[in-house]
Symmetry: C3
Subunit: 388 residues, 3 copies
Amino acid sequence: MHSSIPAAKTLQCSENFLFCQWRIPCKHHSHSKLVYLSQSSFLRNKRSPKWDKFTFIQKDRIQCQALKTENTPFSVGKKFQLDDVIEAQQFDRDTLSAIFEVARDMEKIEKNSSGSRILRGYLMATLFYEPSTRTRLSFESAMKRLGGEVLTTEDAQEFSSAAKGETLEDTIRTVEGYTDIIVMRHFESGAAQRAATTADIPIINAGDGPGQHPTQAFLDVYTIEREIGKLDGIRVGLVGDLANGRTVRSLAYLLAKYKDVKVYFVSPDVVKMKDDIKDYLTSKGVEWEESSDLMEVASRCDVVYQTRIQRERFGENIDLYEEARGKYIVSPAVLEVMQKHAVIMHPLPRLDEITVDVDRDPRAAYFRQAKNGLYIRMALLKLLLIGW
Amino acid sequence: MHSSIPAAKTLQCSENFLFCQWRIPCKHHSHSKLVYLSQSSFLRNKRSPKWDKFTFIQKDRIQCQALKTENTPFSVGKKFQLDDVIEAQQFDRDTLSAIFEVARDMEKIEKNSSGSRILRGYLMATLFYEPSTRTRLSFESAMKRLGGEVLTTEDAQEFSSAAKGETLEDTIRTVEGYTDIIVMRHFESGAAQRAATTADIPIINAGDGPGQHPTQAFLDVYTIEREIGKLDGIRVGLVGDLANGRTVRSLAYLLAKYKDVKVYFVSPDVVKMKDDIKDYLTSKGVEWEESSDLMEVASRCDVVYQTRIQRERFGENIDLYEEARGKYIVSPAVLEVMQKHAVIMHPLPRLDEITVDVDRDPRAAYFRQAKNGLYIRMALLKLLLIGW
Amino acid sequence: MHSSIPAAKTLQCSENFLFCQWRIPCKHHSHSKLVYLSQSSFLRNKRSPKWDKFTFIQKDRIQCQALKTENTPFSVGKKFQLDDVIEAQQFDRDTLSAIFEVARDMEKIEKNSSGSRILRGYLMATLFYEPSTRTRLSFESAMKRLGGEVLTTEDAQEFSSAAKGETLEDTIRTVEGYTDIIVMRHFESGAAQRAATTADIPIINAGDGPGQHPTQAFLDVYTIEREIGKLDGIRVGLVGDLANGRTVRSLAYLLAKYKDVKVYFVSPDVVKMKDDIKDYLTSKGVEWEESSDLMEVASRCDVVYQTRIQRERFGENIDLYEEARGKYIVSPAVLEVMQKHAVIMHPLPRLDEITVDVDRDPRAAYFRQAKNGLYIRMALLKLLLIGW
């Protein structure tokens, strides 16, 4: 119905103006340059994965909508579905690849300029029901590096405190009125999905109890690609607490999306990888094996992914904990058998499962890995707020 | 003494420059466009409701002062008295109306543009002696939506911790050196007034114990006007805990400023509205009646203002609490008898005094009400920092 | 090797552009105007006190380096060593003087304009392992008054919480990836130095246990210079808890850098100044004496520096505390004997060691002193991030 509308005025405007005035993501192939338009703050409040559900007010906004719904000779399909980031598995290989491409742009933005203003005027709330300073700082830094602003809530628990007892849904409905995107950490599995179902603005899951922590999984895969240069055909040794570690489980799920991957599990008996992941890998054709020989595995792998044995999982069995904890330590001896191109990763914080004298080796990738979390989060914030 | 000074240089500058360089609120009728000038950061430190008390340094600042004190053919009178926001009763009907007008502008700013810079360069401190994440986020969002910056203090209690014992007055004197406006939440009635008496910068009371929470009262009245379209002649049913609810008491005070208002009180016997409010309404000519029939009241009212029965008020009398709590629930049955134009309000958080299946009805106004808190706070920040 | 490179393009750019694109501090005498260039965010990550250790990526960055290493006909020497602020003693008299000069510029910036953008694009993290709202707000205000952004961490303790046990070094390595400068408060003496040794970005010590609190010492000396107009030849009475007070000890160290200074110690016997400071002053040729007559000392001094008797130092000896606490009170009677130009200082918070009726006297300098903390911190942030 709008097929004849050229929307010329819009497309002649400067990129800056487009951001300010339009904020509707769209690509127009008849122009030589890719034009990003993001959702306006008005539209964000009525946003929908399908554009034709938008209610527009001004005439030329309808024109721009027309561009999207009728003139687009290209397939952006799924990309526009990036409404929330709830669990790692929701993303396919192409989407991951596209996110990583944006993350690499973010590395340039963070390193070369004096501060991007891409997300100027946008407001992110960090709604943390349990403390996680590391994750919170990483998201807040990401937002601010892109020129956005942050509302911090470290004590979101206060919303639902004993005397008050507000539901998560009511809290989300209130907070979404104050901000453009919510980054939520919760102690209950499934909380992020409940928030996303309620909210009209994007939700990013920054960890919900034993459930998901998708941005950690993304940064792990991104780090492997950045350090090793590929994802197909890689060999990854997962070491340490494989029974309780949320990160290794999510990583296994994501690795299954790539070809010819081989996974080694190296862990004390009490914290072995559970069958659900093994079955999943098998069903996806991913080769895996368990080993008790860290040196052997380290010599074969591209990536040694070490994790912390979590004391709190052992209750009063301190003996079992101490035994498990000392069993597989990454030390200079492990470095000696590792290949030159291989790397050691760790989700941090670490105790002594990687000795400090390993840090100096260029193959110690864990602090670079932490930094990659910044780029991944910058990329996701950009994608959720202003589109591809 | 300055009557012949045209202050031409100043008035020819762009609005942006005026904000940056002058920040002195004044209107000049010989120009077609209303020019807002706000207090400079220097002046703010020596600010006074009467302009001629200002000590100016630069010559042309004196000129601008002259414009105000001698050339102004209009009455801005009381409006410039908005130095602090301490209690709801301090505001008369005209001032409320003016604040609401600014709040409506703020709705447009928040919805249509990519981020206002009206308060750029201004710094607000949230000094919270008890947690109130909802209120804090609302104020911080308001400041950031206008381009201002925020210093957050959720643990202001630390200032006066046991070992240290600093007075509120000393704390205020220190903090006012770091910021342009203070939003304070305190557990003691009267604390906000003490802060305002001490500070040379504006103070906003974000709740002081059982005392006042004026911005909540404003947003309630603003919501009634926005939803019903009028304030004179409205019928409001106050439901729930009327004895302890700070919001219903403040709302009653403000409603008394309007004409032909009728108030219904619907509450369990143990938490009935106290006599002081009843006497006040009578003295102001406001009609009121108590009722135990929520359905009857709901069918007559424009606004059903539900509140939470606060368990903490009942001590160990859990039975009394449970009885009071279940007595007046707003459910779809209540919606059925309500008029089509009427609305349900609630200060939030709610437990089950409004059932979740009411949320879908367009007359459920409580989340819009929470959002209105943002606009009211944006308006007040603008008015206190840069004037009308 | 770069001596023939004029780097013309760079130097023709506007100051703003230089900040944005270069961020490398350097002065070029062949130009009439002092040109400040600060480190780029890339360079900041590989920063070194000696410029020739920088690894540059782009060709014209090497040109600018050349300007510094080969063309500079002036001595900027030590000034560029301002990489971290760990302890007050690390600064010599000339450096202090230079810092104070920048602090005075900061007073102008804070008072006269609508918000500086000098540090736009820069991010500061406040990493506080123990609460100190006053100090935190002062630093955060300083950063924001200069246009910079802040990541707040009031619960940095969470990084090394029982279950996790991360080392300070690992925490610093992670956080430095998210920010440009870290302001750290810690409960352990020496923690700031450990952080600075680890970090590639600047660290400011905001107090490390019984150790140092250098920015407090700077603001004290700065206040004396601002209030009295000189530092050589001044007479300072240190009053109160001289045994435990970190501030008076640091102040004594710094005063020893000036000429003809005379220091009086006035304290209850149980909290007398320790011998190490007395010996230090003697070794530096600073005259000092102990006195039990506050009135006598007050009549002679330029500065009466009162401090709080810290109850927590007395354990269960409440009697001793009460006796010590009441012994030397600064009251209007003390004001009467003080000289007209003299001032009363106090690091705050105060209890009743200065009576409230002293506040009105213009010689009560303690709130101005607190405000000076803002200027000193603005100056240090500017110097550490973009140079002199």
